[in-house]
Symmetry: C2
Subunit: 371 residues, 2 copies
């Protein structure tokens, strides 16, 4: 089986153009990973996800371990077969959602015990169990278990969680073991404290991870602090390994983070916003619930060649969203995933051509153009 590898093909300022090779296919970076929470990128067919240009999707360990359950997914032949996605899948460790969704958590050095938000059943997630689950799912890129502190936080809280995450990083890497063709990523923590981020990144750099993520951002600190923390962290991350900014973000977040050297992203924003009536386009954001769209025959984005963006009128989508029709959620989720992928493709091309700064400027200008 071919190895898991990352090649950096081109840089333009701090922005990087690379490729992650996996036996499941190549991931062109910078890459945006649509989130397939519980085994589905909500309201999309996998063919649409692929055709929109996604090379990799994300699965949530927390959701999948509760339903259908990791052992069941393994008996069913793994997540890829079950959900009919044959490309690479990255799974998170489950830790973030234990913090945000589960009830009655108890955190120890060993791990975290929690109650399912679905049926109240008790589960334990340790670094070892998280890696076991991710292996049973058949995940291509597996994430260490970490602890992410909420914002705002004290220095002591951020330091304690960062140190615990480092100890869990070692245990996760050991539990990951030897899985040819699969990768294991560590996660830099430290809140918005630059010194803690530096210490976390430097310690993880010395371990044998296949990539490093920046976790614990986009949790309420705002874009400015997020970008400052990224800028302060990046210099301490290895150049030769992919850098993944977890749970981010808006189109502007992606653009400004790629500018700072980030290679990978995931976020529910395009699909979640789509289900709630919002469209992201090359001319900016549209709220399709708004009455002003009721008789607007223009498509979401005339400049796009993608059917989700150029086929259906705003008037029709407005009608569907106002009527609570599933097709409205389908069309906007699809359109947003398509736009996010168009944006990533544009960034990749501009880095190849050494024109990232120009692309960034033009893209931000175009976002103001919406009538």
């Amino acid at each position: 089986m071919p190895e898991f590898s990352f090649s950096l093909m081109k840089t333009d300022g701090e922005a990087r153009r690379g490729v992650i090779k996996t036996p499941r296919g190549n991931i062109q970076t910078p890459a945006f990973m649509p989130v397939g929470t519980g085994g589905t990128v909500k309201a999309l067919y996998m063919d649409q996800v692929r055709e929109a240009g996604a090379d990799i999707i994300l699965g949530n360990t927390y959701h999948l371990m509760l339903r259908p359950g990791a052992e069941r997914v393994e008996r069913l032949g793994g997540l890829h077969d079950l959900i009919k996605w044959d490309g690479p899948i990255l799974t998170d460790s489950g830790g973030f959602q234990v913090m945000s969704l589960a009830k009655l958590r108890k955190m120890t050095e060993k791990g975290v015990i929690f109650q399912s938000h679905i049926d109240g059943s008790t589960h334990e997630l340790t670094p070892e169990r998280s890696m076991e689950i991710q292996r049973m799912l058949g995940s291509t890129i597996q994430m260490q278990l970490d602890e992410c502190v909420a914002y705002p936080h004290t220095h002591n809280e951020a330091e304690r969680a960062m140190q615990l995450s480092l100890r869990w990083a070692e245990r996760s890497l050991k539990a990951f073991g030897d899985q040819p063709g699969h990768g294991c990523f560590g996660i830099v923590q430290g809140g918005i404290d630059e010194k803690l981020r530096e210490e976390s990144a430097n310690t993880l750099k010395a371990m044998n991870f296949d990539g490093l993520a920046i976790g614990g951002l986009a949790v309420g600190e705002g874009q400015e602090l997020m970008l400052a923390t990224i800028s302060a962290t990046i210099p301490h991350m290895p150049v030769s390994k992919p850098r993944y900014l977890m749970g981010v973000g808006t189109p502007a977040d992606l653009l400004l983070s790629v500018e700072r050297g980030i290679d990978m992203f995931d976020c529910v924003m395009p699909t979640r916003s789509g289900r709630h009536g919002q469209a992201f386009t090359s001319k900016g954001k549209l709220n399709l619930r708004n009455a002003k769209h009721a008789e607007d025959l223009r498509p979401l984005d005339e400049s796009s060649s993608h059917p989700a963006l150029n086929k259906y009128s705003r008037a029709y989508i407005h009608h569907l969203i106002r009527s609570g029709e599933i097709l409205g959620m389908m069309l906007l989720s699809w359109a947003n995933i398509a736009y996010y992928q168009e944006l990533m493709a544009g960034m990749r091309k501009s880095i190849e051509e050494g024109e990232f700064a120009k692309f960034k400027q033009k893209t931000i200008q175009d976002w103001q153009k919406l009538v």
Copy 2:
């Protein structure tokens, strides 16, 4: 513009194989029309509806007049352009849903005044207004306004509603006027009273409708009484015009009604049942919520060549339905529309070959085969 026409190509017993020609395309009969309630066949892309084999879809005048509104649809270029369906569309008159959904109805000889179930606004539906709305929508086949009595009913109730429907039939036909390439259908009423049905059909036969429907069935009378009423009505309907059984039904209803000489059907069952976890297949019905499917790797129907029926495992669909995922509703709605169209195609072929009785027997036998 080519005229609206019906040709009967072949009969096999009472079963009929025909084609309705319209400027929007031909409708091969017997035909099942997926219901596109408020401008969308729920949870399906129109491409999927077309590729499943549907020649025509149905739109609901009641829903569309309330939202987005008939005048608005007309300003937006008509229903076809709005919803991106270029084939024929049949619209009902709105009367049935006024009875089943609207509040505070007041029925007079002139028409019916009601309050919208969405916002309580007051609307009037008369035979003339219903035809005006259907014309504004751009409907290919337009239905007269009728009154449908609930089951059980007295003879007097059924007779009064049937006579009113006949007077409304004349007014509807006059209001339909001259619309080349479009058709107007009358509706036989009379409850489960065979004499009333006969009188209704004979009176409508003398009018210049392009087709006749049987309304007021599948409202609680049960399959046996429904089929008896169809059998008693059909001999009084014109041979040279399409016969449409409104709001029906299960796959067995379709088979047994085609056997009695029905050419057209519409029903929300495939999409509504799909959204609630039920699949119709050539081997019978499946309830995908049922725990027995949790680790069943078989597709819904191995004998089908359609991706909605043969690609995804029952285990996956079970997981999606149990998790309330939109994709579960999408997949089952799609699978059910595909199966309904496969069933209609099978009936059409068997009539052409003079083998309808054999096809019917085998189909019913196969429905018992589900493991």
